[in-house]
Symmetry: C2
Subunit: 202 residues, 2 copies
DNA sequence: AAATAGCTGTGACATTTGTCATGTTGGTCA
DNA sequence: TGACCAACATGACAAATGTCACAGCTATTT
């Protein structure tokens, strides 16, 4: 019997998955949560064989919970279950040594299959991710440039950006100009869009 | 026996719901799709008692499918199942005379309950929506202003906006200026953010 | 030691953006 | 009919933004 814990903040999916997982003879859901913090507390208490974690949840992300599990050397194996194939998320997940990474864009039977596989010691990643990894454009912007762009994203004018980052206005304009030429655009709005499309910022 | 059709583009949820709905003695899922277009074709063919539709789907949104169903005078009742409580979506759904509007932020048992209720002729809306409706800020921008803002959102400079909307540059700047003063901001980026936060645009 | 890359700055300039006053036209509503 | 508002426009001005060239400083790499 494989014991499970499920953390997923979308109630509809949470309850539906809990039910179908419990239908399997060899699977048992010990509990479920709709936010990361309660999930982490419960996981420590229940010590399930496998924790199925969504990434974007209130209070604590699934990735944070995964890191905690790893840091505490629990025997619990982690499967990340998320919507998007963002390579940054995936990289963090690999860093936290998760046993599986599955997209919500796969049928529920896949989840069941993955659960059984990780219990045999295998590591299972959604194939979409590996493809995405290699083809992912790498961010040409420097840390400082990203910082400036992030401020610009909140709609601040040059003066405010300069103030919050302790730079001169000229420098901020220079950074923005450099960003534009690197990204092949001519204004802040477009630059932000390109950066978001490439998942360099959210 | 109540016959159902399910349109939901997230496979995980689609397959999980299909399974648990089929577990109920009085419910039967005739089929399911992951995009609006196939859903609409299938619904015409199968004529289910109830169609459960996600809104954001490839090819055709759930709201479009709902309108088609209404226009064709099918006996199929529609339940919209979606993530966010956006009042614009909700209003469109009401306009399309849907029988139910449920958030994914409710457990799957609620869905089952709602299915049975709409079959008795009731109309069921998630309570969160009614609350949201009254408290929702209404959009102070005119149609034309919205059109300009939409173009601005794609990062186009004034000249391009003017060209695509067949306006003079001055008019475009005027509209933007009017928008800013209505929204209490001073640049495009902020205006777009306010508009999106208030769900006036996506 | 030299080359490279990132970080910071200045100054000057052209262009774009935002503001304001003002006007015409057409539709709606009391 | 008169008041009002949306749509569209011009012109003029101030402010913000974007571009370019140039330069000094500090790490890191070769």
């Amino acid at each position: 019997m494989i014991s499970l814990y499920l953390a997923e903040d979308q109630s509809m999916l949470n309850s539906a998955l809990t039910q179908i997982l419990n239908l399997e003879d060899d699977l048992q859901v010990l509990g479920s949560a709709e936010d990361g913090a309660t999930a982490w507390t419960q996981i420590q208490k229940l010590q399930p064989d496998v924790a199925i974690l969504d990434i974007e949840m209130p209070q604590m992300t699934g990735l944070e919970v995964a890191s905690q599990i790893q840091a505490s050397a629990l025997k619990t194996k982690v499967i990340i279950l998320t919507t998007f194939a963002q390579s940054t998320y995936f990289q963090q997940a690999v860093a936290a040594k998760v046993a599986g990474y599955l997209l919500k864009d796969s049928p529920s039977d896949d989840l069941i299959a993955v659960i059984r596989q990780v219990m045999t010691g295998k590591t299972v990643y959604a194939p979409e991710l590996v493809v995405n990894m290699v083809s992912a454009e790498h961010n040409p912007l420097t840390d400082r440039e990203m910082a400036v762009l992030a401020e610009a994203d909140s709609g601040l004018p040059t003066k405010q950006i300069a103030a919050t980052l302790f730079l001169s206005e000229g420098t901020v304009r220079n950074y923005l100009s450099a960003i534009f030429s690197k990204l092949g655009v001519h204004n802040r709005l477009e630059a932000i869009q390109v950066a978001k499309k490439n998942k360099w910022m959210r």
